[in-house]
C-alpha cells in the first residue's frame, strides 16, 4: 500500500499526521495571502481604465470626515465618494489606513487617490495633485471645558503627527514668540486624534489643535468635556490628494466632484456632517 492510502485508511495514523497537514494548510494560506501583491501603482487614467478600478485610501479615525462605525467606514468623505462613484467610468476600491500611511502611499504610487481630508498647504502643492476642494476650514485649538486660557503661551499642545495642523501650530508658535510671548511650552505629536483628545481630557495637555470642523464635531459628540478656543491659522481648502502629474485621472475625478457640486448634493452632505455649507469655494486649486 502506498503511504497516502495507508494514512487515509488508518485513522490513528491519520490523526498523528494531523499536525503536519494543519501546518501545511496554514503555510499555504499564508503564502497565498502574502503574494496577493495587487499591482496598484498609480499609472494614469489609461492603466486604470485597463484595470477597471482605481484605488482610494481613507483614514480610519478623523470625525466627521471619515471614521469607522460598526466595521463600516462612514463620514463626509465616504458619502461624497459614493456620489463621485456615480460620475466616473471606473470602479473605486477603498482601503482604510492610519494617517501616517496615506500621503506616503499616494506619493509612492501605491494608491491612486487619498479620499481623506487633506489640507491644501503650500508645502504640499509641489508634491500632490489636489482635487477640486471638498471643504474649507480654519485650524482652531480646543481645551478642557472651563479651562479659560488666555492664549497658548507656555502651554502644552497636542497635534496629529504629519498633519498640516501640526505645521500650522509650529508657524503659530513662531508668531507668538515674534510678538514677545513665551511661545508654546511643548508640542506633543500623536499618531491619531482620538489619542490626543483622550490626553486632553486627562489633563496631560492644555490644548489640542485640529480643524474647526473636527473640533465642532468633537464638542457635539462629547458635550461638556471640551470647549473651543480661537483660530491659529487662516482658512485653507480641504481636498483629495493624488500623485503629482496624474493629470488625466485628476480631471476625471474633478469632473465628478464638480458634477456632485452642481447638483447640490455636496452642499447637502456638508450641511449633514458639518452643519454649514461652503458654497463660495473655488473650483480648482491653483
Amino acid at each position: 500500500m502506498t503511504d497516502l492510502a495507508f494514512v487515509c485508511l488508518n485513522r490513528r495514523v491519520a490523526l498523528r499526521r494531523l499536525p503536519v497537514f494543519a501546518f501545511t494548510a496554514m503555510a499555504l494560506a499564508g503564502i497565498s495571502l502574502t503574494t496577493t501583491v495587487t499591482p496598484s501603482r498609480a499609472e494614469g487614467l489609461k492603466d486604470i481604465a485597463a484595470r477597471g478600478y482605481a484605488t482610494a485610501v481613507t483614514e480610519d479615525d478623523f470625525k466627521p470626515f471619515e471614521f469607522m462605525e460598526d466595521g463600516v467606514s462612514k463620514g463626509y468623505d465616504n458619502d461624497l465618494l459614493a456620489e463621485v462613484r456615480k460620475h466616473v467610468p471606473f470602479k473605486i476600491n477603498q482601503q482604510i489606513l492610519p494617517w501616517s500611511g496615506i500621503l506616503p502611499g499616494v506619493t509612492t504610487g501605491k494608491y491612486d487617490i487619498a479620499v481623506t481630508a487633506v489640507l491644501v498647504t503650500e508645502v504640499r502643492k509641489p508634491t500632490f495633485e489636489f482635487s477640486s476642494p471638498v471643504a474649507q476650514s480654519t485650524t482652531f485649538y480646543a481645551t478642557k471645558a472651563g479651562a479659560k486660557i488666555a492664549d497658548l503661551n507656555g502651554k502644552t499642545v497636542g497635534a496629529q503627527a504629519g498633519s498640516a495642523m501640526l505645521a500650522e501650530l509650529k508657524v503659530f508658535d513662531t508668531e507668538l514668540k515674534a510678538k514677545g510671548g513665551a511661545g508654546l511650552k511643548k508640542i506633543v505629536e500623536y499618531p491619531s486624534n482620538p489619542e490626543a483628545y483622550q490626553d486632553l481630557a486627562l489633563g496631560r495637555t492644555d490644548a489640542v489643535v485640529n480643524t474647526e470642523i473636527n473640533l465642532r464635531s468633537l464638542l457635539k459628540e462629547k458635550p461638556g468635556v471640551f470647549e473651543l478656543g480661537t483660530a491659529v491659522s487662516k482658512p485653507v481648502y480641504i481636498a483629495w490628494a493624488m500623485q503629482k502629474g496624474n493629470t488625466e485621472f485628476a480631471k476625471a475625478i474633478n469632473d465628478a466632484i464638480l458634477a456632485v457640486r452642481k447638483s447640490g448634493k455636496m452642499y447637502e452632505l456638508q450641511e449633514k456632517w458639518f452643519g454649514v455649507s461652503f458654497k463660495e469655494m473655488a473650483e480648482t486649486i491653483k
Partner: protein, 215 residues
C-alpha cells in the same frame, strides 16, 4: 461597551490568532531552510543568511513592519497591509527559528551521522529519516517558546492598521473615553490564547521527554 464592541474585540482576537498561526506555519520551515543553509556553508548564501538573522533579530517588530509596509513600495514592492503583516511576522519569527534549528543541528550526535554514512544512506534519505525527526524533538521546546513570544509581538502590526485585538480595544476605548473595560477584555482574551499555547508547550515537552516517543 456595546455588544458590537465585544464582538469587535473578539474578532480582533481571531485576527491575532490567525496571523500568529500563519506566520508560525511559514516561519518554522523557513527557519529550518536557513539553518540548513548555514550548516552547509554555501558560499554567498551563508553570509546573506547571517546578515539577515543578525539584522532582523535586533530589529523591533514595529520598525520592521513600518519598513516593509511604507518603505518597500519605494523600491517597487507594494503590498496590502495584511500581506505586509504576515511577511513581517514570518521574517521575524524565521530569524529566531534559524538560531534554534542551527543549535539543534550543531548538537546532533556525530556518531549517528557516521553510522548512517557507513550503511550507505544518501544525503536526502539520511536527512529525512535520521536527522530531521531527532532535531524536531530536541528543538521543539525552544520552538514552542518562540511561538509564544511571537504571539505577543503581533500587536506591532496594529501600526499599519490591522485591526487585531489591541487595536480593536484601543478603538473602543477612544470612542467611549473609558479605556479600561475594553483593555481588560483584551487582556483576558490574550491570557487565554497564551495559556493555550503554554499548555500545549508543556504537554509537548512532557510527551517528547519520554525516551523513544514516536514522532
Amino acid at each position: 461597551m456595546t455588544t458590537y464592541d465585544y464582538f469587535s474585540i473578539a474578532y480582533g482576537a481571531l485576527a491575532t490568532v490567525s496571523l500568529s498561526l500563519v506566520s508560525i506555519a511559514l516561519g518554522v520551515p523557513l527557519g529550518l531552510g536557513l539553518a540548513l543553509v548555514r550548516w552547509s556553508r554555501l558560499p554567498i548564501l551563508n553570509q546573506l543568511t547571517m546578515g539577515y538573522v543578525s539584522i532582523v533579530r535586533t530589529c523591533p517588530s514595529v520598525t520592521l513592519v513600518l519598513l516593509i509596509f511604507y518603505a518597500l513600495p519605494v523600491v517597487g514592492i507594494s503590498m496590502e497591509p495584511l500581506s505586509a503583516a504576515i511577511l513581517t511576522l514570518t521574517l521575524s519569527t524565521a530569524a529566531f527559528n534559524t538560531e534554534i534549528w542551527r543549535s539543534a543541528l550543531a548538537n546532533f550526535p556525530r556518531d549517528q551521522y557516521d553510522a548512517a554514512l557507513s550503511v550507505g544512506m544518501r544525503r536526502g534519505l539520511r536527512f529525512r529519516r535520521i536527522v530531521l525527526p531527532q532535531i524536531i524533538r530536541s528543538s521543539l521546546p525552544a520552538l514552542v517558546n518562540e511561538m509564544t513570544l511571537q504571539i505577543k509581538s503581533t500587536p506591532a502590526v496594529a501600526v499599519i492598521g490591522i485591526v487585531e485585538i489591541t487595536r480593536a480595544a484601543i478603538r473602543v476605548g477612544a470612542r467611549t473615553y473609558d479605556p479600561l473595560p475594553p483593555f481588560v477584555v483584551a487582556l483576558v482574551l490574550y491570557s487565554l490564547i497564551v495559556f493555550v499555547f503554554v499548555k500545549t508547550q508543556r504537554t509537548i515537552e512532557r510527551r517528547y521527554a519520554q525516551a523513544g516517543a514516536p514522532v
